[in-house]
């Protein structure tokens, strides 16, 4: 079936570095993508979203890039902080559909 996957299960960075978390999606019909952050013992929390009519969207210290040609999504975190340590999930859907398909997740470890 359709799935969303991630290339790197664990990413370790130093505080202050920029982090890049990648995600591949397989459903070419997906037109809306979301990144979630899940801290230990908590539910996922919305970070940033992007529609398929965009290839880049910026938030506070985060940027999401979408490459529809190769069906690839990435989350860039600038000046990574220890508080950014968490598991990051990408999710895809089609506007008008309510179900999200989540990827496996990437664990980001930030060392002081």
């Amino acid at each position: 079936g359709e799935s969303v996957g991630l290339h790197l299960p664990t990413l370790s960075v130093q505080e202050g570095d920029n982090s890049i978390i990648n995600c591949a999606y397989s459903n070419s019909a997906s037109d809306y993508f979301i990144w979630y952050k899940q801290e230990s013992g908590k539910g996922p929390q919305f970070i940033i979203d992007i529609r398929s009519n965009m290839d880049k969207r910026q938030g506070q210290r985060v940027t999401v890039l979408l490459n529809k040609t190769v069906k690839h999504l990435s989350l860039q975190i600038a000046a990574t902080q220890p508080g950014d340590s968490a598991v990051y999930f990408c999710a895809e859907t089609r506007l008008g559909f309510q179900k999200l398909v989540f990827g496996t997740g990437t664990r980001l470890l930030v060392s002081p």
């Binding site: 809306y32 908590k42 539910g43 996922p44 929390q45 999930f89 309510q98 179900k99 999200l100 989540f102």
Partner: protein
């Protein structure tokens, strides 16, 4: 206001017993979702409620799983005759307000179910 709450936070049960997991969504949210998260895995969609429409049960793994949503608010996920493979964190989410509407799902902290 209050976020999504779930109870219990942890549940240990014996194989073969039935369990009920509760979710209180954010007030006014019309959509409610249940997901299952196994250790080190992503979120597996189970069931989705939207307003008064028939729920989307396409993610329920077997007929031992069922869910209901009473009065368009509180939801209960029931697992009958639990099996060890049911051990996971069960997450509830709701959505319905804000600029992103139904697409911004607010998650509860989850219920960790352990079947011994």
């Amino acid at each position: 206001g209050a976020g999504v709450s779930q109870s219990p936070s942890n549940k240990v049960t014996e194989k073969g017993k039935d369990v009920e997991l509760r979710c209180d969504p954010i007030s006014g949210h019309t959509a409610l979702y249940w997901y299952r998260q196994s250790l080190g895995q992503g979120l597996e969609f189970l069931i989705y409620f939207q307003g008064n429409s028939a729920p989307d049960k396409s993610g329920l793994p077997s007929d031992r799983f069922s869910a209901e949503r009473t009065g368009g608010s509180v939801s209960t996920l029931t697992i009958q005759r639990t099996q060890q493979e049911d051990s996971a964190v069960y997450l509830c989410a709701s959505s319905g307000r804000g600029a992103r509407g139904i697409y911004e799902q607010y998650f509860g902290p989850g219920t960790r179910l352990t079947v011994t």
